[in-house]
Symmetry: C2
């Protein structure tokens, strides 16, 4: 997905939000906003938004010296999500269609996103989403592919969301390779959080995509990941960032996300706050 | 009021909004955002926010060549407000306290603000506000000053809002000098709109403050206005922009506004969407 004009004030707002989480020093946050402001003229509207996000968060690290400002928040989100785990597992177990229910739970976990300008309440939002209808639901296509696929490449997104991914992965009960970000960026999942959640115990392998962006942006990924991505039988992509990074890629992908901004809503053709299971390039 | 870090993404959002109202040319809007981005480093947090607003809107005029992009919207807002005029006059007439009711109506008109990132529906919002309680209501102080003042200096704000100002001015029934902006800026009221609304028929005089900002920022006003402002027996200031410009000024002022952003809400000590009649420096 390209960058829209609407993304530009949003980058500035994200920088402010991240700056305030990282430091209390107003001068440093102003310095950060000065930098992001001067970066605007370098933005090409053909860029993928998370490519710009990568530059902004790199600047935060440079200015504040803090490598993982979201560390505490991530741990707190994971803790809250883990509390919901037994209840959600029970819901899947009792469900008429456990796979569909687990897909919805995995999407519900996508509310835990600190890269968008929206507040969230994990417990309340997840329960609300479980009652929500899909705006797009390519579940038949998902199920068809899932049944023939011998293994799945699963692109993780936010840290707390990983708990909900774990439920879907356990429900699928097939060999899964779970993909994380290479470095801490926003509240996205890395190797460290995978261990806390225990995803490593339920998948075949955890790998990094090599990206320094808050998304799977292929030109920022490493060769090994790109090979795995190209060869994967089935790709499940979680969240907005991965959608932004991969929406124009010419291979089959199943996007599972909660829509949290108007630009992405317009791009998909749904409304803000909708939940989506969208398949692309099914024949590729 | 000083500029807060939160104002910076908001300037960018305002620039985008104004750019989209002014032109359909994405390249020109991007050029505008590039300029506003590079202006961020020149922002001193001690600046008054509308001083920066003045620079942004000047840049829009330079880039697009359009001097009054809000012209049609202003006329349409005035038309809608004028439709409400007879009904609102009747409400004042039947009211137990016509002056207080007219003050509330004048504040209700302050929803018609295109300089903030909030949508509005004139008819619906005005009727809602008429039922709303004040968060701050220094009406006793207002009434006391009003009763002894032989004349009033009334600082206008948005164009459509002028219709509601007219109702308060008619209710006060005292000599009023109505103050407008010097040039078209956002949807603020100028001499042109005053004529359409008929404010000129109910006041002693209409003058310009000389400001090129979307607010009464004294260091951007002309000498004649500053003299009138200093000597006025009673000053009524409408809206957020005028509050931002005058909140630290050392003379008595009655601020009438609808709070439309979190920064101003925090500064006043109220909540977003509150309505306020706030007096400052009553002994000065």
């Amino acid at each position: 997905m390209k960058t829209y004009l609407e993304c530009i004030p949003c980058f500035m707002k994200q920088a402010l939000k991240a700056g305030k989480i990282t430091t209390c020093d107003e001068t440093k946050i102003k310095e950060l906003l000065d930098h992001v402001g001067s970066m605007v003229k370098e933005i090409d509207l053909e860029d993928i938004p998370p490519e710009i996000g990568a530059k902004i968060y790199k600047k935060i690290h440079e200015i504040t010296g803090v490598k993982d400002p979201y560390e505490e928040i991530k741990q707190s989100n994971i803790k809250e999500a883990l509390k919901l785990y037994p209840e959600l597992k029970e819901i899947v177990k009792k469900s008429k269609d456990p796979l569909l229910t687990a897909v919805k739970i995995a999407i519900a976990g996508n509310v835990i996103d600190l890269g968008v300008n929206k507040e969230f309440n994990i417990t309340k939002d997840v329960k609300k989403i479980l009652k929500q209808d899909f705006a797009i639901c390519d579940f038949n296509e998902f199920k068809e592919k899932f049944e023939i696929a011998k293994s799945i490449l699963y692109l993780g997104d936010n840290s707390g969301e990983g708990v909900f991914d774990r439920i879907l992965i356990e429900t699928m009960n097939k060999p899964v390779t779970y993909v994380v970000r290479d470095i801490p960026i926003i509240n996205d999942i890395t190797f460290k959080e995978v261990g806390v959640i225990g995803i490593d115990k339920v998948v075949t392998e955890v790998i990094s995509s090599g990206t320094t962006a808050p998304a799977t942006v292929l030109n920022l990924c490493n060769e090994e990941f790109i090979k795995r991505f190209d060869e994967a039988e089935m790709v499940i992509s979680k969240g907005q960032g991965n959608y932004e990074g991969l929406s124009e890629v010419k291979r089959s992908i199943f996007f599972l996300l909660k829509v949290k901004c108007s630009v992405i809503a317009d791009h998909i053709g749904v409304s803000e706050d909708d939940i989506v299971l969208k398949a692309i390039n099914l024949r590729a």
